[in-house]
C-alpha cells in the first residue's frame, strides 16, 4: 500500500536520543558521527564476568591505568562513523588503484634503478608483518578499551593496517615476486637487521593495557615508522634516486598516516590533559618504548640509506619530539 502523501511539515517531539541530549545538555539534532558514537557502549548492568578475564567486567575501566571522567571525550576529529570511514577509504583505494595501474601499464617498474628496486623490496616486504601486528594490536584496543569512541576508531585502524599489509604485499609482488615475499618473511624472522623490530612487535602483543597498546603501537611505533619509511626514505630519498614510481605505490600509506595521526594525537592529548596522573602514566609508557622503537628502526633505515641512517632517524625523532610536545609529553 503506497498512499500519496503531500509534503507537510510536522513538528517533531524531540530531536535526538536521550543519552545524546543528556551528554550535550540539550536536545538538538546531531551529526551522524555523534549520533552513532556517543554513549554506545554499555557502562553498567553486566550480567556475567568474562570467563576469560574474571577479574573484570565485560567493559571495565580497570583494564587500563588511564583514568577519564568522560571516556567519550576521546573523540575522533575525522568524525568517522562507518559510512564516513568507508567512503573515505573507498576514495583512497580508487587513487591507489589508479596509481598501481599507472605504474604497471607504463612498465615503470622496469625503469627503476636496480639498487632502488632491491632496496625497496628489502625494506617494504617485511613491513607487511609489522602492519599485520598493528592489525592485531588495534583489534585488542577495540575489544578491551573502555568507551565506544576509542573502540570504533580502533577497528578502523585495525582494518586499515590489514589493508596496508595487503598493499605492501601487492608492492612486493609487483617489484619482485612470490619468492620476494618468502624472502621478506625469512628476513623478518631471521635476519638480525629486523630482530629488534620484531621483538618490539611481539612484546607489544602481550601488553594488556589497551591504552598502553594504543601508545606503543599507534603513537610511538607508527609515529616513527611512517615518517621515516614513507615520508623520508621513499618520498624523498628513493624519489631522488629515480624511484618516484615507488612513492606512487605507497601514496596510500603516506596519506593514511597523516590522517590517522589526527585521531592518535587528539586522543592522546585528551588523555594527557585530563590529569597529571594520566600524563605521568603515558610519559612512562613513552619513556619505556620510544628508545626501543628508535633502536629497532635504525638497522631498518640502514637497509635503504646505509650510513645516513642515524642522521635520518635523528631528524625523524626531532619531528616526533615536537609532536609529543604538542600532546603534552616529552621525548
Amino acid at each position: 500500500m503506497q498512499i500519496d502523501l503531500r509534503t507537510v511539515t510536522i513538528k517533531p517531539l524531540r530531536q535526538t536520543f536521550d543519552h545524546i541530549a543528556r551528554y550535550l545538555g540539550t536536545d538538538k539534532p546531531v551529526s551522524r558521527y555523534l549520533e552513532g558514537s556517543l554513549g554506545i557502549q554499555p557502562k553498567d548492568v553486566f550480567h556475567y564476568r568474562p570467563t576469560w578475564d574474571p577479574e573484570h567486567e565485560i567493559f571495565d575501566v580497570r583494564r587500563t591505568k588511564i583514568r577519564m571522567k568522560d571516556w567519550d571525550a576521546l573523540k575522533d576529529p575525522r568524525q568517522f562513523y562507518y559510512g564516513a570511514y568507508t567512503s573515505a577509504r573507498a576514495r583512497q583505494q580508487d587513487t591507489a588503484e589508479a596509481n598501481f595501474d599507472f605504474v604497471e601499464s607504463r612498465g615503470l617498474v622496469e625503469t627503476l634503478p636496480e639498487d632502488v628496486r632491491q632496496a625497496a623490496v628489502a625494506l617494504l616486504v617485511p613491513l607487511r608483518h609489522v602492519a599485520w601486528g598493528a592489525n592485531m594490536n588495534n583489534a585488542a584496543v577495540c575489544a578491551y578499551a573502555y568507551g565506544g569512541m576509542t573502540a570504533q576508531a580502533a577497528i578502523y585502524q585495525s582494518m586499515d593496517q590489514l589493508g596496508i599489509a595487503q598493499y605492501l604485499t601487492r608492492i612486493g609482488l609487483l617489484l619482485g615476486d612470490v619468492e620476494s615475499l618468502a624472502a621478506g618473511k625469512q628476513a623478518w624472522t631471521n635476519d638480525p637487521v629486523w630482530q629488534p623490530l620484531r621483538r618490539y612487535v611481539e612484546d607489544s602483543f602481550v601488553v594488556k593495557d589497551p591504552f598502553e597498546l594504543h601508545t606503543v603501537q599507534n603513537l610511538v611505533l607508527d609515529g616513527l615508522l611512517y615518517p621515516l619509511v614513507y615520508d623520508t626514505i621513499i618520498d624523498q630519498i628513493f624519489a631522488a634516486r629515480g624511484g618516484a614510481a615507488i612513492a606512487m605505490l605507497t601514496q596510500f600509506m603516506t596519506q593514511w598516516s597523516a590522517e590517522t595521526r589526527k585521531w592518535v594525537d587528539a586522543t592522546m592529548k585528551a588523555i594527557v590533559a585530563e590529569s597529571e596522573e594520566n600524563r605521568t602514566v603515558v610519559q612512562d609508557w613513552v619513556d619505556a618504548w620510544l628508545p626501543r622503537a628508535k633502536e629497532a628502526l635504525l638497522p631498518v633505515a640502514a637497509i635503504a640509506v646505509s650510513e645516513q641512517a642515524p642522521a635520518l632517524l635523528d631528524e625523524v625523532m626531532e619531528g616526533f619530539a615536537q609532536r609529543l610536545a604538542k600532546i603534552g609529553l616529552s621525548a
Partner: protein, 517 residues
C-alpha cells in the same frame, strides 16, 4: 629485465593467502600462550590452523569499495524516507512498535557483536579466522549505526525510542536479549563463535532478521527495509563464517564433538528464547502479517535447519535437543508472550493492544489447534473488560527464569494449561527456570548464571529506583519509581495503543498529509 618472465602467476586462492594468512609468522620472543591466552581453557583442540578454509575472499580494498557503495545507496534512501515523512506511509501506527522492539532489543546486540568479534578475532592464533572475525566486527559497527541512523527519524515523531540505550541495559524484558549476548561474549572465544557465528547467524538469523525486514516491506516501512536488505549482503558473509567455524573445529579433533554439540544445544535454546519477542511481533504486532511464527519456524528451522543438521551428521552432530520442546511450543509461544506483554504493558516501552476480529480469524486459521481453544477466550474476556473501562494492567512483578530471564509464562510440554516451573538448589539458594533446558544450562555452569542481573530481583532489592528514593515513605509507588529509573515516560511510552499519543499523532499527521488543500 627478465624478472617479469620468471614471475609465478598466483591463483585466486593463493593470492588471497599471501594477502592474509601469509602475513602471520610464528613468534619467538614471546610465548604463544602469552600472546593467545584465551584459546586453551575451553578444551577445544586445534592442531593445525592452516586447515582453515577461507569462507570468502575479500581484500580490504575491495571491501572498502563495495561497502562504501552500499552505504551511499542506503543513506540516500534513509534521507529521502525522512524528508518525505515516509513513516506516515506505514500500514498503521501499531506497526511502529515493531521498530521500537528492534531498536531497543536488537540494535544494541549489533554493538556487542562488534566488540565480541574484535575480541575473538584477536584471541584466535589462526590468521584465517582472525581476518574473517575482524571484518565481521567492522560490519557489526555498520549494522548498529545504520539502524540508529535510520530509526533516529522515528524517534523524532514517536515515543518508545528515546532512551533505547538505557532501556536495553535496565528494562526487564530487554534483559532477555542483553543477557543472551552477555552470556556469549563472556564465554570463551570458541563458544562465542559457535553461539553467535553458527547458532545465531547461521541457524536462527532467518527467524530474526527476515521477519523484521519482510514485516517492514509488507507494512510500508521503506527505511527499515533498506537497512535490513543492505545488511543481508554482510550476513551472507557472516553465515559462511559460522558454518566454516563448525566444520573446522569438528575436523580438527574428535574430542571437540561433545563440546560443540553441547554448545549447539545450549545456544539454539538461548537464541530461541530470545526469538519469543519475534514470535509475538510476527503474530500480533504487524498490522499486515507476512507469515505466522509457526510457519516461519517450520520453514526456517524444521526444513532448512533439518537439512543443515542432516548435512552435519557426518561430523557426528545431531539436531539440537531442544527441537522437540520447541515443536510443541510453536502453537503457543507467540500467544503466551503477547498475553504476558498485554498484561505488563504498564512497564514496557512499547504499546500493546487486543487483536481485532479480523486478526483473531487469521490467528484461528494459522493456529487451528490452539488459538480458539486457549487464547481467544482470554482476548474476548479482556475486550469485555476494556469496554467496561477495566483495561487490565498487571502491576505485580513476574518471576523470571534464572537463565533466559523470560518471565515464567511458558507452559508444560504437553499441557498448555499448566505453567512450567523448574528449580534447583545451589549453595543454599533456590533458582527458578522456565524449562528443563534453561535448568540444564544453569547446572552446567552455575557459577556463571548465579551472577545474572535479574531485573525483578534487582527491583525487590531496591536497586532500580532513582537515587534518593525512600521506599518506606508513605504512599510509595514502586512501579512509578521503577519507570522513573528506566526513564519510561508513563502515559507516553507505555500502556495500551488505544488512546496513546502515537495513535493520535499518527492519525492527525496522516490526515494532514492526505487531505486535499
Amino acid at each position: 629485465m627478465d624478472m617479469q618472465v620468471a614471475k609465478k602467476k598466483l591463483g585466486l586462492k593463493e593470492k588471497y593467502q599471501v594477502m592474509t594468512r601469509d602475513l602471520d609468522w610464528t613468534p619467538t620472543y614471546q610465548k604463544m600462550e602469552d600472546i593467545y591466552p584465551y584459546v586453551q581453557y575451553e578444551g577445544i583442540k586445534i592442531h593445525d590452523w592452516d586447515r582453515w578454509e577461507d569462507p570468502f575472499r575479500l581484500t580490504m580494498d575491495a571491501y572498502w569499495k563495495y561497502q562504501a557503495e552500499k552505504e551511499k545507496k542506503l543513506y540516500a534512501i534513509i534521507d529521502a524516507y525522512a524528508q518525505n515523512n515516509g513513516h506516515l506511509n506505514v500500514t498503521d501506527a501499531r506497526y511502529i512498535n515493531t521498530v521500537k522492539l528492534f531498536l531497543t532489543g536488537v540494535s544494541p546486540l549489533e554493538y556487542m557483536a562488534h566488540r565480541g568479534f574484535a575480541h575473538v578475532g584477536r584471541a584466535f592464533p589462526g590468521p584465517g579466522p582472525r581476518v574473517a572475525c575482524l571484518m565481521q566486527s567492522l560490519d557489526e559497527m555498520r549494522h548498529f549505526q545504520t539502524q540508529v541512523h535510520a530509526i533516529s527519524n522515528y524517534n523524532k515523531y514517536y515515543n518508545g525510542f528515546h532512551d533505547f540505550r538505557k532501556w536495553h541495559d535496565r528494562v526487564w524484558y530487554l534483559s532477555v536479549p542483553k543477557s543472551f549476548f552477555d552470556d556469549a561474549i563472556t564465554a570463551g572465544p570458541f563458544e562465542f563463535i559457535v553461539a553467535i557465528g553458527f547458532s545465531f547467524e547461521y541457524v536462527l538469523t532467518n527467524l530474526l532478521f527476515v521477519p523484521f525486514v519482510s514485516g517492514a516491506a509488507y507494512n510500508g516501512d521503506m527505511g527499515t527495509m533498506a537497512y535490513g536488505f543492505s545488511a543481508q549482503s554482510d550476513e551472507a558473509r557472516h553465515m559462511t563464517l559460522g558454518l566454516e567455524v563448525i566444520k573446522f573445529i569438528l575436523e580438527q579433533d574428535p574430542a571437540n564433538l561433545p563440546i560443540v554439540q553441547r554448545w549447539i544445544d545450549k545456544w539454539t535454546w538461548r537464541g530461541y528464547r530470545v526469538l519469543t519477542l519475534v514470535a509475538m511481533m510476527m503474530d500480533y504486532m504487524l498490522p499486515k502479517r507476512t507469515m505466522s511464527w509457526k510457519e516461519a519456524w517450520e520453514i526456517y528451522f524444521e526444513e532448512n535447519g533439518g537439512a543443515l543438521f542432516r548435512d552435519l551428521a557426518r561430523y557426528g552432530i545431531r539436531m539440537p535437543k531442544c527441537a522437540e520442546t520447541i515443536a510443541f511450543e510453536k502453537d503457543h509461544l507467540s500467544h503466551q508472550a503477547w498475553c504476558t506483554f498485554y498484561n505488563y504493558t504498564a512497564a514496557t516501552a512499547f504499546h500493546t493492544w487486543l487483536p481485532n476480529e479480523d486478526e483473531m480469524q487469521w490467528l484461528s486459521a494459522k493456529y487451528p489447534d490452539s488459538f480458539d481453544k486457549y487464547y481467544r477466550p482470554r482476548f474476548d474476556f479482556w475486550r469485555e473488560q476494556a469496554a467496561k473501562g477495566n483495561r487490565f494492567y498487571n502491576t505485580t512483578l513476574p518471576m523470571l527464569c534464572q537463565t533466559c530471564q523470560v518471565p515464567l509464562f511458558f507452559t508444560e510440554p504437553g499441557d498448555p494449561t499448566k505453567i512450567c516451573y523448574r528449580e534447583t538448589d545451589y549453595k543454599g539458594m533456590k533458582y527458578h527456570f522456565c524449562s528443563d533446558h534453561c535448568k540444564e544450562i544453569f547446572e552446567h555452569e552455575p557459577e556463571k548464571y548465579v551472577q545474572a542481573w535479574l531485573p525483578v530481583h534487582q527491583i525487590y532489592q531496591g536497586n532500580c529506583f532513582p537515587e534518593g528514593t525512600d521506599p518506606t515513605a508513605e504512599g510509595f509507588d514502586p512501579l512509578k519509581a521503577v519507570l522513573q529509573w528506566y526513564n519510561i515516560i508513563h502515559g507516553r511510552d507505555n500502556l495500551d495503543f488505544e488512546g496513546s499519543e502515537d495513535q493520535r499523532n499518527f492519525a492527525a499527521w496522516r490526515a494532514q498529509a492526505t487531505r486535499n488543500v
